[in-house]
């Protein structure tokens, strides 16, 4: 907290009410807002994240990051004439006591910012809610399932609403934690990618992180002082996550030196990998079952789902090879499901077109488009 009676270091007029976590400067509210927004604007323009006329789906969970993102994007879009068509996209994982409440928040955001909202749920897409998954697999590796499924769900939802870009609220702390986690796990390919501000540019649905250099604490302060409406409980299953370790370190580093967080992100950007490491990177292709973008014959979501449905919860998590090193899922298996109804294992080939085929037909107005599935080979959990 700034000392009593201190003046803002930016405008030198108003009283300083807070100390910026990133720089420890004492600033007044207005200057803080201005600085925060200016930094995000600088991030957006210097990296060329958006082009005028794009339809951008803002991934909204109702939490602080995505609420502030929606707010700031709306503000900057208007102030600097980005010319973007903004949409809110929300994913319902089916975690009771957590997600249902946060979804209410997002619905309020829709009204507050005047941005249309679409909700896509795991139940519809995969036939399983997170609660059901955790009941099946226990408390370990929940984040693996949730994360893999969410990524696909976001992509499918964005395609549904006709967006050409997804904006997520990942902040500097998130990216720094990811960098540390990947180092601990020895995941070299991910380490090379995780600090990119924009991923998947070569696919038709890139994702960008406008908050990449914004501190989590500053986002919280922004939301607090702007009195933004957000939902602030952590996920029920979070205490079991490995990310907690990295998170603690990040918080300690921040206390030791505020710029350490941004330094971690910059270090990751500066990593130069040896050529030998580069060669081992997988090349993208599409899943043989559901057509989703993947580096393996069958995408991770299909593998995980197969495990869930077959009662092999470790499939795709710790068991990644079948007997004698064979790939864990045979390609032919899923095909039968596309026919007369049985295949619960495959991610259903629903009317949501795969991201590869340009789904311009599915534009606007199709709120909750997944609910209006055409008849045919759609398998849902309810069928079992």
């Amino acid at each position: 907290m700034p000392p009593r009676g201190a003046t803002c270091q930016h405008c030198k007029e108003a009283r300083a009410v807070l100390s910026r976590p990133k720089t420890r400067e004492n600033v007044c509210r207005e200057c803080f807002f201005a600085a925060f927004e200016a930094e995000v604007h600088a991030t957006i323009t210097s990296h060329g994240l958006f082009k005028p006329g794009e339809r951008v789906a803002v991934a909204a969970s109702g939490g602080k990051d995505s609420t502030v993102l929606a707010h700031v994007m709306t503000t900057l879009n208007r102030r600097h004439n980005y010319g973007l068509d903004l949409l809110l996209l929300s994913i319902d994982e089916g975690i009771s006591g957590y997600r249902d409440d946060s979804l209410e928040t997002v619905k309020r955001n829709e009204a507050q910012y005047g941005i249309p909202l679409t909700v896509v749920s795991y139940k519809q897409l995969y036939g399983w809610t997170m609660d059901e998954i955790v009941a099946q697999i226990g408390n370990k590796s929940n984040c693996t399932f949730c994360g893999v499924f969410r990524r696909q769900a976001l992509d499918r939802g964005a395609v549904l609403v006709g967006a050409s870009k997804i904006a997520t609220g990942h902040n500097a702390d998130d990216v720094a934690e990811t960098v540390l986690l990947n180092m601990l796990r020895g995941d070299v390919p991910r380490l090379g990618r995780c600090a990119n501000i924009s991923t998947g540019e070569d696919s038709c649905l890139p994702r960008v992180k406008p908050f990449k250099y914004a501190y989590e604490k500053e986002i919280v302060l922004y939301a607090y002082y702007k009195k933004l409406d957000y939902f602030s409980t952590e996920c029920v299953y979070a205490p079991f996550a490995a990310r907690g370790f990295a998170r603690e370190l990040i918080k300690d580093l921040e206390a030791a030196r505020p710029l350490a967080i941004v330094d971690v992100v910059r270090s990751a950007e500066d990593f130069v990998f040896a050529a030998a490491a580069e060669e081992r990177l997988p090349s993208p292709r599409s899943c043989d079952r559901c057509g989703y973008l993947t580096s393996q014959p069958v995408c991770k979501a299909c593998v995980l789902l197969e495990g869930l449905n077959r009662g092999l919860p470790r499939l795709g998590v710790s068991r990644t090879r079948g007997r004698q090193g064979a790939p864990v899922l045979e390609v032919g298996e899923g095909e039968a499901g596309a026919g007369a109804g049985a295949g619960v294992g495959a991610v259903p080939r629903v009317a949501v077109a795969e991201p590869r085929a340009e789904p311009r037909a599915k534009e606007g107005g199709q709120q909750g488009g997944l609910r209006t599935e055409p008849g045919g080979a759609v398998a849902t959990g309810a069928a079992t």
Binding site: Q9, K22, T23, R24, E25, A35, A38, E39, H41, A42, T43, I44, S46, H47, V179, L180, N182, M183, L184, R185, G186, D187, V188, L191, I197, K212, Y213, F245, L249, D252, L253, A255, A256, R257, P258, L259, A260, V262, D263, V264, V265, R266, S267, A268, E269, D270, F271, V272, F273, A274, A275, A277
Partner: protein
């Protein structure tokens, strides 16, 4: 029980650890008739390293070849940092005695090895290198004051008082001969006055840096430097203390000590005529280093710091570093010492109130390692996937590997003279420049010295690199921490130089220009502080006028 579930007996543990250290012999990094220096902190890792290296040495008793042993000379160097921690002289002397006793207990006694203790404050001495005689100082006299290798000849010359003179006098006779033989007199020093200036102005941010540089340059020729001598020692220690206290950021302070220590180790080893310097960093230390470096924005330079060989000092006349303990965990090293009954001699840790990034990284790695014993190896392996620098190749040591193409590389002796001449010329040209720059730096009150110095070394570094004639091209290095400068940093330096040349007086104006010129998405619009960690902090005025120092690359928030 060094690994979680595998009990090992003492001899198996020692075999496995020393086997890894012996790897440097099979990799031809250590060869007969080498003079090897070993950096000895008094901790478990360096003690374990010493324990493993000594048996590799062939005793000169018999001329017969002994199986698995090599003839080499070993010098054990300990940098005494007690002044940096404000420890009382009595406690400091006791600590040094402990270190010597430990080295002796490990077997580093004449004729196997010689032990040298150098106080950290000696880093301020002009590095003209009158070396002590190769005959080692007997380790059985702990009351003797630490031998100051650099001060020795000047002491004798000035007929200085103090116990150091006794040992020095004996050495002085040889010193001149040694200097002539090594050819390091003028040449090796040439590169360093720039270093002294750069460091002086960077660290102190005041004009005395420029003066010191001038004096340093003159001191080589004159030799009648009032700074040298036993009275000078107290002055140097005071100066060291003042320097360290001027750094408010705990991490920055630790990094500064580390950089000074490394510089002094390299110089001392070079003064002794060593051809390589062994360091005892374990896997655990290197893994902690990876995490800490990442947290300081050193992602570009990281790859060069964690390899087996580090020959970047070649341009400055410093011997290459080797890390034989790279694949040994700290726990293994500790057990080796414990089982041999050796107790490490370490300085008391600083108070917990200032938890530096280095400390946090170390604790983090330890705690994860406790649960997952492969962590340190995984982290190191991940970092090893990064592209190393040319100075990390074993060939950069100038030995082993395929012979260089004859057309490109002049003979070693000729090359060294060439390098020496080149550096002197560069340095002399640089002296005036840097002196002028240092003043402009002082205006801005930031650690621009590092930037300016780095730029200087950048140009001299590359000419040195080529001139060194081994075909080793050393990229431009940061003046203080010797990290290779990334493209972004070099651009920033070049831009700052241009900006400063354009507008000399307006420090604030340039700062603004810098901030926008950076154009990094990391909130460059937010002015100085928001600009992101790894840019070189040149002329951006920090809101807090007190200089925050460490390496020129990381930017520190105002206040501690």
């Amino acid at each position: 029980m060094v690994r979680l579930r595998e009990p090992l007996c003492q001899s198996c543990l020692e075999t496995s650890v020393s086997g890894k250290v012996r790897g440097i012999k099979s990799a031809k990094l250590l060869q007969p008739r080498d003079h090897v220096a070993l950096a000895f902190s008094g901790g478990c890792s360096s003690a374990a390293l010493l324990l493993c290296v000594l048996p590799m040495r062939k005793d000169a008793a018999t001329p017969r070849k002994e199986r698995g042993k090599i003839e080499f000379d070993l010098s054990v160097i300990h940098i005494d940092e007690s002044a940096a921690y404000g420890i009382s002289p009595a406690a400091a002397a006791a600590h040094v005695a402990e270190v010597r006793a430990l080295a002796a207990a490990a077997g580093a006694v004449h004729p196997a090895a010689s032990v040298h203790v150098v106080p950290l404050a000696d880093v301020f001495l002009p590095p003209h290198t009158p070396a002590p005689a190769p005959a080692p100082v007997p380790t059985t006299a702990p009351a003797q004051a630490p031998l100051r290798s650099d001060a020795a000849a000047a002491d004798a010359a000035a007929a200085g008082a103090g116990p150091a003179a006794t040992a020095a006098a004996a050495a002085a006779g040889d010193a001149a001969g040694l200097v002539a033989r090594l050819g390091l007199g003028a040449g090796g020093a040439g590169a360093e006055p720039a270093a002294a200036q750069g460091r002086g102005s960077a660290a102190e941010g005041c004009r005395s840096g420029a003066e010191e540089g001038g004096r340093g340059g003159g001191g080589i020729a004159a030799g009648a430097d009032p700074d040298v001598g036993s009275s000078g020692a107290a002055e140097r220690e005071e100066r060291l203390r003042a320097l360290l206290q001027s750094v408010r950021d705990p991490t920055g302070r630790e990094d500064l000590v580390r950089a000074l220590r490394a510089l002094l180790l390299g110089r001392s080893a070079a003064a002794l005529g060593a051809c390589c310097l062994l360091r005892g960093d374990t896997t655990s230390a290197l893994a902690a280093r990876v995490v800490a470096d990442t947290a300081k924005g050193r992602g570009y330079a990281l790859a060069g710091d964690i390899q087996l060989v580090d020959a970047r000092g070649a341009g400055g006349g410093q011997p290459p570093l080797i890390y034989p303990m790279r694949e040994v965990t700290a726990k293994e090293a500790a057990f080796v010492c414990l089982l041999r009954g050796l107790r490490p001699a370490t300085l008391p840790a600083p108070p917990a109130s200032c938890r530096s990034i280095n400390l946090l990284a170390g604790e983090f790695i330890e705690s994860v390692q406790a649960n997952v014993p492969s962590t340190v190896f995984t982290v190191l392996r991940t970092a090893t996937a990064l592209q190393p620098f040319p100075f990390n190749a074993p060939e950069a040591m100038g030995r082993g590997g395929p012979p260089p193409a004859p057309s490109e590389r002049p003979r070693r002796g000729a090359a060294r003279k060439q390098a020496a001449a080149a550096t002197v010329a560069e340095a002399e040209a640089g002296v005036a420049e840097v002196g002028g720059r240092a003043e402009a730096v002082a205006e801005a009150g930031a650690e621009a010295g590092a930037g300016a110095g780095a730029d200087e070394v950048g140009s001299s570094g590359s000419s040195l690199g080529v001139g060194a004639g081994r075909g080793l091209v050393v990229p431009p290095l940061c003046m203080l921490c010797r990290a290779p400068l990334s493209g972004r940093e070099r651009e920033a330096i070049a831009r700052a130089e241009a900006a400063r040349a354009a507008t000399v007086a307006a420090g604030v104006g340039e700062g603004e220009g810098e901030g926008e010129g950076e154009g990094e998405g990391g909130g460059g619009g937010g002015g100085g502080a928001g600009g992101g960690g790894s840019s070189v902090l040149l002329l951006v005025p920090s809101p807090d006028p007190a200089p925050a120092v460490g390496c020129g690359r990381a930017r520190h928030g105002p206040g501690g």
